[in-house]
Each structure stands twice: as C-alpha cells, then as structure tokens.
Symmetry: D3
C-alpha cells in the first residue's frame, strides 16, 4: 500500500494530515455504522464526474436523514480543494481517489462528523486484471433488500460484504464476490456493478437493487455513443455463465474484465471485443490511457 498518512484531509472544518483523522468508538459512524460516503477519482488530477458523486452523497444523506451542515456546493469545493492540496504528490502516484464521508456524529442529534480524504489511486490492486482477467464468484450471502436497507444508499454498514469477500476466497483465492438479491437476481459486487455482453447486447441489472454507480452510468453512456444496445434487466447466474463477456464497472479501474466466474471460463477470447471497445472509448473520453496508466503505476510490463 502506498502510504498516505501525510496526505492532507478535510476533517470537521480543518485541514489535517490523514494520520490525524480518527473516529472515537462512540461516534455513531463507528458504533452503528451510521455513516454515508462516496468515492471518486481523478484523471490527470482532475476530479471525474464529481457532481455525480456529490449528488449521490446527498441522496444518501437525505435517505438517512443525516444533516452534514454543508451544502452540496460547499462539499464539492472541499473535495476540489482537497485534491489541490495534495496535487504535488500526484506525479509519484498517477492519480487520486476522493473519499468524502459523513457520520451522524456522537448522538442521534449530531453534530455530523464530516471528512474528505484524498489518497493515491491503488493501481496495484487491479492492474493485472486488464491482462489476465478478474475472477468472479457468485456468493451465497445475499445483498440487502430495500425494506432492510436500500442498496442505492452508499454507506459503511456492510457486514454482508465482508462475508461475501470471505466466501469468494473460499472458492477462488483471487475471487471477487458477486451478490444475489433475496430473489436470486444478480445485484452487484462490493463496490462495483456487473455487466455482461450476450449476442451483442450489453446487459446489467436495473438500479432497483444495486448502487447507482457513477461508473455504471458512464459505461452506459459510452455504449450509447458507440451504438451498442444496452438493456437494464433482472439477470441470474445463468446469464453470467453463458455470457460472451463479463466485466465490472468500478470507480478506480473503470472497467474490470472477467475471465472466469465460479470456475467456469467466460466466453471465447479474453478480453472480449466489446469490453475492449468500451475501455478504449473510455480512455479517449478521459484523455488517459486507462490500462497503460494502471500498468505503469503498478509496475507491470504490458
């Protein structure tokens, strides 16, 4: 892990080194996971689709009835300033993640604990997937139904993600979990959305039971630009196993191609042509060769 203890963070109105951002156990954010957050990234040091991340953060806040004490505009500016304050570190690390979070604070009346962390993008965690493909595992632990906790809210209350992560490793040491809802439909992974290609159509679960991924939205938008038909629909493991291509959309790597799911190889060639097409168009959109950047900063020879 790239160390970022001395990166500058926003914390309850102050700018401090990350190492000074600490939460006491009686903060509800720790005690009952009463905390929402978001996670963005930069390209060439410029926050990408920051407005979408802030908008989703405020939807999460509204759902949970947490008052951050800041307007969306103020939060946006803090995120931008946080990137600026760390920009001198960018050449070493390539790009940044931007991670605002808001807890309800020490009591149900608040006041909220508000933090924005900027850290180096962890290319080493995903760069090899562009070459070898990631491995998906459809786990047995289920995702939340909306009458327990709406999956469209982005929060830290994720014990079931933990179980999913462990279960995926039981089956494949490199396994990344894919979760089902209580009705057996594909939902999402732990921080990424799922896409598949079948007979030329790009398919992904509806946003009924998944996080409304910003990267997911970008992929759909790019596909639209490329004339690739897109269908949001209920999908089941069968659809994954028999797909031509499968990939995840995720903030940092944007598109993670999969080579295997549940020990079954996916499709014919790897990576699939539509996945490659989307990745190329995405690189063009952001002015960064996404794969090259990842391999470079992860120290992998392409």
């Amino acid at each position: 892990m790239k160390d970022y203890q001395d990166y500058t963070s926003y914390f309850n109105g102050e700018w401090v080194p990350y190492s000074q951002v600490m939460v006491p156990p009686h903060d509800r954010g720790f005690e009952v996971a009463d905390v929402v957050f978001d996670q963005g990234r930069t390209f060439n040091g410029v926050p990408f689709r920051l407005e979408d991340h802030i908008s989703r953060l405020y939807r999460s806040l509204k759902y949970m009835r947490i008052d951050s004490g800041l307007s969306p505009q103020e939060m946006t500016e803090i995120c931008q300033e946080a990137v600026q304050r760390n920009d001198h570190r960018r050449s070493e690390v390539g790009d940044f993640n931007i991670n605002p979070f808001v807890t309800r604070g020490p009591s149900i009346e608040g006041p909220a604990t508000v933090c924005v962390i900027v850290k180096p993008l962890a290319f080493y965690t995903f760069a090899r997937f562009y070459i070898d493909g990631a491995h998906g595992v459809i786990v047995k632990t289920r995702s939340y139904s909306s009458d327990i906790m709406d999956p469209k809210v982005k929060h830290h209350s994720r014990a079931n993600f933990v179980l999913a992560e462990l279960e995926a490793r039981d089956i494949d040491p490199d396994g990344l979990p894919i979760m089902l809802d209580l009705g057996g439909n594909i939902t999402e992974g732990i921080g990424y959305n799922v896409f598949l290609v079948k007979d030329g159509v790009l398919k992904t679960p509806t946003d009924r039971n998944v996080l409304q991924g910003v990267s997911r939205k970008v992929v759909i938008e790019i596909a639209g630009n490329l004339g690739i038909p897109v269908s949001e629909e209920d999908l089941q493991p069968y659809d994954i196993y028999t797909a031509d291509e499968v990939f995840f959309s995720r903030t940092s790597p944007r598109i993670v191609p999969l080579s295997k799911v549940d020990t079954r190889p996916i499709g014919g060639q790897f990576p699939g042509p539509i996945t490659q097409h989307l990745l190329a168009a995405h690189s063009e959109m952001v002015g960064v060769d996404i794969v090259d950047q990842a391999l470079h900063y992860a120290g992998i020879e392409a």
Copy 2:
C-alpha cells in the same frame, strides 16, 4: 452523559484513557463495519454473567472469521481487569458497562483491533421507564434475515437499526423501535429482546431471528424459577397489541416495562404483575434493587 473520557480502556494490548481510543477510517471496523462486540454490566462492581457475554463474543468472532489473537480466557481477564482499573469511579456512578469490541483491522488479513471499554451505566436513559413505561413502535424497516447477516451475531453493521430509531420517533417522540423480520414476525429492538405476557404465559420470539440475549436468557431462567410458563414462538404485532403485559430485556435496565405500543395502551394496569414479579426476583438474584438503583443514579424521586 456522564463523561468517561478519562476512564481506563484496554486498546490493542495497552491500558489507555478512553480519550485515546480512536479508530482510523481505513480500519475495516469503520470502513465496512467489520467488527463484532458485546456489552455487559456490573452489579455492585461485579461483572454479571461475563462468561455468557464472552462466549457470545467468540461465537460472533467465529461466524465472522475474525481472529482476535486472544483466547476467551484472556479476554475475560482483560474485561475483569478493566473493571478493576475503573472501580474507584464506581461510587459516583453506581455501576459500569463493559464493552469489548474486535475489528478485523486495517486489512482482510488483520491484525485485529481489540478494545475493552468500561463506562458508567447510563441510568438516566431508562430509569423513568420503570415508572411511566417505555413506548414501543413497530417500525417498517425490517431486521436482517440470516442469509444476509445472521441476527445472532452482535456487530456494528446496523444501518437498519438507525432507520428504525428514526421511524420510531416519527410516531412517538419517545418511541423505541420493535422490528419485524421479512416474514412479518416480531424480532427484537435495537439492543433489546421483546417479551409479552398473555393469559399467564410469558412469550418471546425464538432465537432464530434475534440476538441470543444474555438478559433474555436470565429472564427465562427467572421465570422458570418462579414457575411462570415460557413459550419461545413466532409472534406478530397482533400478539403485542392484545398482550396483557409487554417488556424488553436489556443489559443495563434488565427489564423495561412498556405502557404503549403503536399508540395502543398495553393491558390493564401498569406495570403488569408478572413484569413486577420478574423484576423483583431479578433484583434478589443480583443483590441490587434494580429499580431503586436506577432512580437513585438518575436523580429521580420514586
């Protein structure tokens, strides 16, 4: 709130003031609520049923596959020592809560963050319930089903508890939530189990869909000693509304009698005779008049 910033806590092998117990945001205990805990109390400064709390904590750890690095025996001794180290504060506050927690730590391989907090028992939060009764509200947010996250595990991943708490207040400013499972059965509150009395029988949900409450077990044991028949069975809101008596079992207050649920008054007189009987026998069991102690330390004239 009684201040306990200078109480002594165990934190990753050291004894520190509580004010120094802090969790960094990248600890999985904060980031994905990858943390289990337990909560006990003392009577006259002596931990009550500590072995049951430690045993449950280790069942939670086993379920979550978190390695605390400590044996149950070691954890027990730390809890006992933590009480000893704060015992000089007891005369001011009456009794203590004992709160061990274990996070998986900064990465999926750990090492665990282990902490034991001792703090003054918050009598003021519940003392008035012995006199006026608490108000229950059956909320719309549902509790976890076991294929999402087993409700028998005691953890911090409780966003749905937060929603429940807010919803209860929407209906009654003093409302304490009672949650249903996905099948519409009564489960538990946010840290307490639910009991009712109907035609002389004490009823409570089975431990299929609730935390295996230590206080719950004690109530069942006392009822057995008193010859009160007990039935663990699936219950629905109808059973609560039409009960003769309703109470919660909970670590600190032990037994919380309810006077209303969902704006409907419960039973005839308050508190009900069996509730009173159980409370009296419980006081006798622990050698402390539970109600008097609470009223005294909460500063309420009986």
Copy 3:
C-alpha cells in the same frame, strides 16, 4: 334456508327485526370492509364459550382501532339478551348462531355501526358431513400474511376467501377450501381450522397464521382431557395427504370429518377413531348429541 327476517336483532342501540338491519353503501363496513365480527352458537339455547368469542371480538377491535362504544361486558349482555328475545323460536330450529359485528361507521372517526344478529343454526349445510365426510381442496389462492392483514383478526375483508371457495368447486363440486400461507404451509379454511391425526398425534397449524378459533381451542382442550397428544406445528399438503384422519373445527358443526382431500381418500376407515372419540366427548361436554341434533334438524335419517 330457514327464514329469519323476523328474528330480533340488536342494531345501534335498538331491538329491531332482522329485516330492518341494513347498511348504507357509504358505511365503511361496506365500502372498505372496515368491520370486525364474531360468530358463536348456543347449545340448548345457552351461548357456548361466549366469553371467548367476546374476548376475540375485542382483540379484533383493538387491532383495527375501532371503538364500538360498548364495554365487553355490555356486548356480552346484548348477545345474551338477543338470544333470550328469540328463544321462543328455538324449538323449531334446534339452536342459534350469535353474530355480533361492528363497522367503523360512515367515516374514519365513526361512530361505529354495532349489530348483534341471532339466527337459526344451519344444520342442513353440514349434517351430511358426519355420515359421508366433507371434501377438502387445497386451493391456489393464498391466505393473508400478517404484514398485509393479520389472520388472527376476524373481519369481512375476504375477497381471497371468495376466490378460494370458487377454486375448490372447480376441483370438486362439494369441495371446501383449505388455504396455504405464502410459505406453502397449511393455514385454515374459510371459517374453520384444520386438524389431522398421524400415528396417534393430533396436529394443527400454530396460531401464527390462522384465526384463533374458539372451536379449535375446545378441540385441543378435549384432546388434552382424553390424553391424546396434540402438536401445533407448521404443516404442508403432504401431511394432509398422508394423514390417518383429517377434520375441521368450526363453530356450528364443531368437528367436520373429511373423507377426501384433493381427490385423494384420507386414511383407512371413515370417520377415523380419534375424530369419533373427540366428537363423542364434545357432545358429552355440551350435553347435546352433536351429530344426532344435526341430522334431526337437517331432516336426515341417520
């Protein structure tokens, strides 16, 4: 149908002939089935277990938050007086049904429409079942789950009972419906509970998903007196098909033995020995030969 237009009914504080009991369409009892009721019977003109029926009626009222404007004691006395006022008709008809109902009235604030109807017991509708057995049909329409409408409340909002009745006739012109809950468990019929005997044990669904039948309670009590073991448990169609005996408990006939369910003959001999034993003990309990009375007033030669 025995005519009872001139029987005396209680209606909103007055005693009138039944023919004058009429509900306007804007009464919520008609408009949205906002009405609860109960149904008892007499033996030798004496109301049987009237206190249990009144108690259940008031549980239904409490659940629905309808205020009848009468205390349980007053309601009991009205039921008794209603029987007295019609007792001169008893010799012709054998015994009576007692049917109180309470609607919320013309608006959500009431005032309630309160009525107690006494009518001749309809022996002709069930007398032949003691000889030939009734036919059960497990229908496809499901009973209410408690998060839609608790099945323990006795009310008129029974469109699904109507569907069940029609479906049973599709399969057997004499078919009486048995309904499943959403989980596939046996619940009840349309006004009767279901019992079966297997290897000497009397089994019936728990009262989680059925009306808390007064006759059901009496059957369990009689079985207890006779030393027949009783188990309240979740049952499925398999248990019915492979039972030794099956019967319904119901207010008027008390015990309705079944000879067939879903075109499968039940058990070996008809009626089964335990069913017969229970019926005999019931007759003794009430001082009326239940079968003889039914056959007599239905005009059937035994």
Copy 4:
C-alpha cells in the same frame, strides 16, 4: 359532506333515492366483501373516459366470476342515465362522481346486487393540495400480492387500506398512505397511483402490482403528448425521497402534488414544473380548469 341522500341511484333495476340504497348483512358484498366497483367523474356534467371505467369494471367481474346480469353496454347506459337524472343538481356542486358496484348477492349463486350511485364531487377533500401539497406517508402495512388477491381488481375487500390510513395519520395528521408490495416496491395509495419526476423523466410503478388507474393512463397519455419521457418500473422509497417531484393520480382531483413524504420535503420548488405542466395540459384536455374548479367549489380563495 355535501348531502346526497336524495340523489337518484340505480339499484337492482330501479331508480330510487340514494337513501333507499341499503345492503342487508347477509349479502356477500357485506359479509365477505364479495363486491367489485368502479369510480369515475364528470367534467361539465359529461362522464370522462366512462368506457375505460366500464371496461375495468368488467375485467374485475371476470376475475371474480361475478355475473352482473348486464352487458357492458347496458351498464354504460345506466351510468349515463344516472348522471342525467341528477344533472339538475350540478350547478350547486360543480361535477359528479359515478360509482357503480356489483355484489355477488345473497349466495354464491347470486343474483348479483347491482347499483350505480351518482354523488357530488368532494372538492373540499383535496382542493387545498393544489396550494400546499399533500403529505405522503409510506406505511408498514403491505399491499396484496397477486397470489392473495390481484391488485388490478377494484373491490371493497380493503382491510389493509384501513390499516394504511390509520398508520399514515400516526406519522402525519394529514398523511396519505403510500403502500409497498411484499418485495418492498412502491405500489399505490388507497385509490390513487403514484408518480415521480427525476431528472426530467416521469416514473411510476408498472401495473403488475397496482390498480390499472384510468387517471394514471391519462397522465401517461398527456405526458406522451407533451414529450415528457415516461418509465414504468419498480420504484422504492429511495426514489420517492430523492425525487424532484411527486404526485398522485386520482379520479376526482386528477393530479395531487405532494410537498412532503415521510417528513422529508420533496424536491426544490412546489409544485414542480412538470406537475404544473401536466395539470395545465389536463385542464385543457377536459375543458375545465381543474384547480380553479376545485378551489371554487371548496370555497378556497386561490
């Protein structure tokens, strides 16, 4: 309430004052809510989309297998005549509701009880919503699933609507209920459909789990004419809370804008621009200023 006891109604083949329309308790329409109905309105005394209401009534009849004894054409003509017979009252009240209902009658073989009621449109119940907005409350009681009773049938068996109504008031004295299906999806209110606007798209639940509202269909049609994109999809409370605009479609008021749901204010300004646009286009379609008419007859200064 405007009195309509002397309005003329059709009742089992005769024209009678409404005060003479009365249902005896043994009619299955009262006893087991074995009754279907519809509800339309006039504009300037002319029935609006009457053919759609009659068509839906006959779909309800077919589902329930009730034979009204009348052809759809005959039923249409009766509705039209009923309006004619009361047209001399229109100047006082503005416009009428038209409410046909059909019960199965006194036995499962019928004959049906058939009635058509015309009454003054109750502007006073909704006029203020155009100015202040209505308040929605997402209640805990769930709507019917189609294997219990299909929500597309329009009938009186609505005990769960009653519970919903009471629960909404528990949270907000002016609360109008919004119900979820058993899977946690938004369905409908008690007699109205739900719409929301998000990022310029008009969204409403599919007709899988709601009544096929005639007003709902009209709103979709108007939106189509105005070029507003419409999506019928599964929606959850999150979508309501984070919507830009929310409104109900309902027979009498046509479009009811909401200002709050579950204590959360909706969107930015009230009423929202698309809601206003739809209302204006609807007024134009029917040749009546819907808002002005309501305010006028409700005696409210705009």
Copy 5:
C-alpha cells in the same frame, strides 16, 4: 402413438435402433435427473433453427458443468445425420422431432451418456387445438426459482411438472398447466411458453423465469416482421383472464391457441385474429402449412 422402436438413434458413439437405447438405474441421468436435453423439429425433413437448439443445449451443459465430450459442431452434425438416417420414414409421418440428451453418466466424473433420438412428430396430440382451442389451467404447484434450479436450463428434473400436469387435469380433463413463479407471476407450461394479446400488444413473460424457448423467439421475430408490438413483462393470472387472445408457443405445434383458461372463456372470437396472423406468417416462413399438416397427419378433417 406412432411406433418408433426401429428408428435409428445415436447412442454413445454408435447408431442403434431406438429400442436399444436404455439407461441403467445407476446412471445419474436416472438416479438424480442429472441430465440436460433439447427438442427440435423438422419442416419438410429439414431441422428448423437447429443452431438455436444446439446453442441452448450447450448453455444447459455449461450451467450444469456436464462435459458431453462433443463440440457443438459435432453435436449438430450428429443431429443432422440422425435425421438423414430416418428420412425414409418421413413420408408416413410428416416430420420429425429431434431430441438430443446428455447425462453426466454413472459417476460425478462421468463419462457422459450422449444420445440423439429422432421420432415421428406427434401431430395427433395437438392438431385439434387449432380448431377447438386448448384449455389452460393455472396450477398451484410453482415453477423453480433460479436459486433452486434456473428455469432457463432444459433438464429432466421435473417432478413439479408432473404435479402441474395432474392438477390441471383435476380442473379440466383437457387442461394444460400454466405455472406461476414463487412471486405469483406467470411463467410457462411444461414445455411451452405463454403469450397473450391485449389491446393489440403481444405480451409474454420475460426470460427471467422461463425457458428461453426457440419457438418463443421465432414468434417474437415474426411479430416484429408483422409490426405487432411485443412486450416482455411480468404477467399475472389477471392478465390471462382478461386477455383478448392467449396462445402457447411450442416446438412441434409452434403456436397453440387457447379457448379457455381456468374455466373462463378467452376473448371474443376463436382463434383470435393476431394468433391467426402469426400462424399464417409462420407457415409461410417454414414453407409448410402448419395447421393443414397437423390435421392431415392426425387424420382430422379440417
């Protein structure tokens, strides 16, 4: 039944008379129904959409992780050769069914039992439906949910189809079952998909909970060619009962018009105009008058 004991089949690498195709009880295909299959037909002796059938067979194999030992191309050629080897029998019987199946074999490691059977098309089982209409019955036994066994896999493990078949006959001696999923949605029959027409739109369940029928796909394709709008959506019994037309798509008869469902007559005229239109266009597509051929070989005068 046309006898086909002497037709030539492919069986584990050899060409044998069908009478020699036999499975021992310890083959997993028999012991635990560990077997997938497909079913096609010829027109004028030419396999129709064979590639689609083979593709679906290989999707089934992939889902079940059965290794047939043959490539799709080899399997296709075997099917074609099987038809050729029996082509001399075609003039007697009109056309053929082609039925490949693959069991996992005697142990979990295989080797697979592979068979391709060609047999005469059983026109006599469906020809009369074109004239009188088939009768559908919505049965109470439910179809598999995808977390038990994905309905998109074509396999022999069909005990619930057996129950459905028996239940349909309970209601109508000619009844063909239509199954619901656990949520109460229409799925499919036992080897056929369900279509309905309402207000000019052709509707059929999505392929979430049904077999991805090859005939279903052809019907959708023909409708597209004819400009008939098609909607794949969740449907419930209400939609069937109130439809204008209902038909099944099925391999041998292609389109089976229904005249009744659950004792309710469907629509106005029989067969419906869109059903007729689709059948005519299908005949044209395959160069065979589908209805005439069926009547002819079934020996029915049109």
Copy 6:
C-alpha cells in the same frame, strides 16, 4: 465400486440380474423424473426398519399419485425376497442396501415400472469419516420449498442436489453439501439429515423442510433412550458454526461425524462425546459394531 451386475433384482414382476434392469428414455421416470424410491440397509443381512422405509415409499406414491400396482405388504415381501436371493453374496460384502423404485411408466396413465435392487453396502465411501470426520459445506443452491415439490417426498428429481454436490467440491474437495431452504434455514444434505449438539442438547431441523429420515428417527429414538434432550427447530448456519458437535444421519453409515463446516473446525475434540455415545448405542441396538464393520469392509486399519 463393488460390482453388482449379477445381483438379483426384482423388475416389473420378474427376477433378473441387475445388468438387465434398464429404463427406456420415454419412461417418465427418466423423461421427467416421475419416480419415487426408498433406500434401506441390512444389519447381519436382516433389513432394518423395513416397515418405515416401505411406509415412506407409499407416502411418496400417494403424494405423487403413482399407483405401483402392489400393496405395501407385497412390496415388503419383494424387498425381503430380494435380500434372500442375494444373501449368498453377503459374506464378501458385509451387508446390503435395498433400493425399491417406482416410476409412473411410459405415460401418465402408467403402468408403473417397479424395481427392487439389492446391492453391496458401499462402506468404502464413508468408513474414513468415523476417523477423520466428514467436511460439510453450506452451499448456495437452495432446497425445494413445499409449494414447488415437498421435500418430504423421496424422488429422483434432484437437479438441485447435483448443483449442491458440485458447489461443495468447489470449496472443499471432500465437501458434502448442506442445503438451506428459501428462508435461509438449514435443511438437509443430499440423502442425509443434519444434527448438531449445543450445550448438551441434540438439535435438528423440523421435518417441515426435510425428508422424514428413517435414520433421523432412529437417532432421535436412541437419544431419548439415553436421556439426551432433543429439539426439532429451525436452525441457521450460525448454529452449525458454533455447535459443539455436528453429524449427519444417513442410511448406510447411520451417523457421520463432521470435523469441519465451511472451513471452520467444529467444536473441541473429534468425534464429540455425544456423537460417540449415540454411535455406540446404535451399534448395540443393531447387534453390529457399525464403525468396525465399516472399517473392516473398507479395508481400513482402525
């Protein structure tokens, strides 16, 4: 595998070598798994609890409405004769399995295919479990709910057992599957029931959602004789992970102790004391040292 091709089997009224027992593909037992069966064993060549196996077989037949053409008494005698006819082989193999099955036959009207197979007991498949323990794996594929196919019926339609078997191996090469029902409760394995011991109490799922195992019943009976308290209740994975002992009951090995479930070691010592106690008492009951016999015939040194 011990070869048993020349063992004598009963097949449709005749005694033939097993190698001649073959099922044609169009037998419904193969085509749609329309077949029920049972599986017993001998001790010292004497069928054990044969009456219970035959009784269960006939319950399965009644549920499926298959007519075997034989009375239970005749079936019993055939099973006994089948053992007799092979008894000369017993000294080589130790003991036998007895496996009757009945398919509905070639058409829905039958006639049934009836077979009774006797084969050597496969000690080698389980003997090592007594020493090292078996490994359980809780799989993601779910068992049937009773509205799809009642799990109390013993049949061959087991595609989900196949998936479970493969999934268990994905996690542990020696993994034996444990399945959950749709509500997340433990059900059974693929041919065995699940027991656990916690705090001295023997627990097992109720027979609501599992096969009514004959071995299960024997274990409960033995526990009763030994004074070990037994509870049939809903259990979840938590209960397994935190149990003191876990074992399967199964026809051939009777009791299979587990040492691991889902990679978590079970309890303290292996095998657990209550498991050992039950095994010893079982050996005594049947007059065979169950463990010694298995080790001996499997060729394992104890």
